[in-house]
């Protein structure tokens, strides 16, 4: 008798878990599909950017001095003045020099001359779909985080639902109904790819919900200032000062990059070898940087 009651309770639990699993699936499947497909395409976003703008200068070793020249040129034509400025030096998967301000991004060539505006609307469309579902930034991030939570919930309820999920982990039945074969396909694919699903859902949920959590902490502790919440983790921005200041030593700041950029080292090594062979006109690297590379490599 206790066994019978236990069996009934267990069957009821399985039914409830299956029902819950399908609720989550029905409610979120279409959005999850959009997120997942755009996520898969986003993995190749650097390659897509390069395809969208094939004319941009690539594989050009840029010296710290040229990077500084590019920065000065970019800031000279920047209107309105920018409060943030980034120089992206070439890497293996994106071998381009990109200078980004608050309002625009431009490419520079090896001599530090600005050659074109960065523009990759299709890649940006895919990235925005993946990050925000094309909703306003904060709302979109929160919705994406919520979908991550729902995916994680689906995974857990999916593991709890079918009683023989492990016993049948290697089984795939073509006998019986087509529905059974489809259920087998669903269960087997879900179980064996769950390590990836769990990590993707969890990290997506954490990233997506961080801004909502920060917003609530800010409302409670910092009078709505979310930057104050992120400051202890990522560091805070200096106080705004409208007085003009001389440009920071970009060449000096960019110099150590040469010794740290592992992928780019190969290009620079080749460049250094070419320099050795030529033993004549100096390359884009000044003597000290070039010799430092030779020591490192």
């Amino acid at each position: 008798m206790p066994g019978q009651i236990e069996g009934k309770a267990s069957r009821k639990f399985v039914e409830r878990a299956l029902s819950g699993h399908s609720s989550l699936g029905l409610a979120t499947a279409a959005f999850l599909y959009l997120l997942i497909v755009s996520g898969i395409i986003s993995v190749l976003n650097h390659e897509l950017q390069r395809w969208e703008q094939p004319g941009a200068p690539e594989l050009v070793p840029i010296s710290p001095q040229a990077a500084e020249r590019a920065a000065i040129s970019t800031l000279a034509i920047q209107q309105p003045p920018t409060s943030h400025f980034f120089i992206q030096l070439p890497t293996d998967d994106l071998p381009r020099v990109v200078l980004t301000t608050d309002t625009r991004a431009v490419f520079a060539d090896g001599s530090g001359t600005i050659v074109a505006e960065e523009s990759h609307p299709w890649t940006q469309f895919v990235l925005d779909l993946h990050y925000y579902l094309h909703l306003p930034e904060k709302i979109g991030l929160t919705v994406v985080g919520m979908l991550g939570v729902m995916l994680l919930g689906s995974l857990i309820s999916g593991f709890l639902a079918p009683p023989s999920i492990f016993r049948d982990a290697f089984a795939f039945r073509f006998s019986g109904s087509a529905r059974l074969a489809q259920a087998d396909l669903h269960n087997r694919l879900s179980v064996w790819t769950s390590p990836l699903h769990i990590s993707i859902a969890l990290t997506g949920a954490i990233l997506g919900l961080a801004s909502m959590t920060a917003f609530t902490i800010a409302t409670l502790d910092h009078a709505g200032n979310t930057e104050a919440v992120f400051a202890p983790v990522f560091g805070e921005e200096p106080e705004k000062n409208d007085e003009a200041a001389p440009l920071a030593g970009i060449a000096r700041a960019a110099d150590p990059y040469a010794s740290r950029a592992s992928g780019y080292c190969d290009q620079l090594r080749d460049h250094a070898r070419t320099e050795d062979k030529r033993a004549a006109s100096p390359g884009p690297w000044d003597t000290s940087a070039s010799s430092r590379f030779r020591r490192i490599l």
Partner: protein, 195 residues
């Protein structure tokens, strides 16, 4: 990348998957022992891959290997089942899932919808209240702000997932509302007391 640990790691993962297949297929007296050995082989393989290719890249490759080996076995089993499908159709009965009716019971969609609202927006709000309460608790215990903040960022989705999963599984509405209230009340009281 070091070749020997990667090779041994691959062997460990393949062996582990094979042992899992043996253990999960039929329960024997050695079931627990074989399952434990299987997981040890798999985690050992992942560890070795971590040594060979780094904790990020190596572990990722090991995880993909784990999935691929299992999928290979699954495809092999599916092929065997496909070849023998005519014979089996006569002998194999339906399972729990094939008994499920194709027709939706009345009110099912409304129930799904209410469950979703309890699990998603309301469950999320309760999770955030609890998370904030934990954040304030950590702060009052003198934990560094950066650490409390990061813990909170990790905790919010985990709590929400736990609440949402509970609600969708136990879809008795009144009990779920009570559960949400019982979760939220201490958080609200704590936050009210702190502020």
């Amino acid at each position: 990348m070091e070749t020997l640990p990667a090779f041994l790691g691959t062997i460990g993962i393949a062996l582990g998957i094979g042992l899992l297949r043996v253990s999960w297929r039929r329960k024997t007296r050695l079931h627990s022992l074989i399952t434990m050995a299987a997981w040890m082989c798999i985690f050992g393989g992942i560890f070795l891959w971590g040594q060979a290719g780094g904790v990020d890249w190596g572990v990722a490759i090991a995880t993909i290997l784990f999935i691929c080996v299992a999928m290979l076995l699954l495809v092999f089993n599916a092929g065997t089942a496909f070849v023998n499908r005519e014979d089996k159709r006569k002998t194999v009965g339906s399972t729990d899932q094939s008994k499920v009716s194709d027709e939706a019971p009345p009110g099912m969609y409304a129930k799904h919808l209410s469950t979703f609202f309890l699990a998603a927006p309301i469950g999320g709000s309760v999770a955030i209240i609890l998370t904030l309460s934990v954040f304030e608790l950590l702060q009052s215990l003198g934990v560094e702000t950066a650490n409390s903040t990061v813990t909170t960022f990790f905790l919010a989705p985990l709590l929400w997932t736990a609440i949402a999963t509970w609600i969708v599984i136990d879809n008795a509405s009144m009990r779920n509302v009570t559960l949400l209230f019982c979760c939220a009340a201490p958080g609200v009281l704590h936050l009210g007391w702190v502020k």
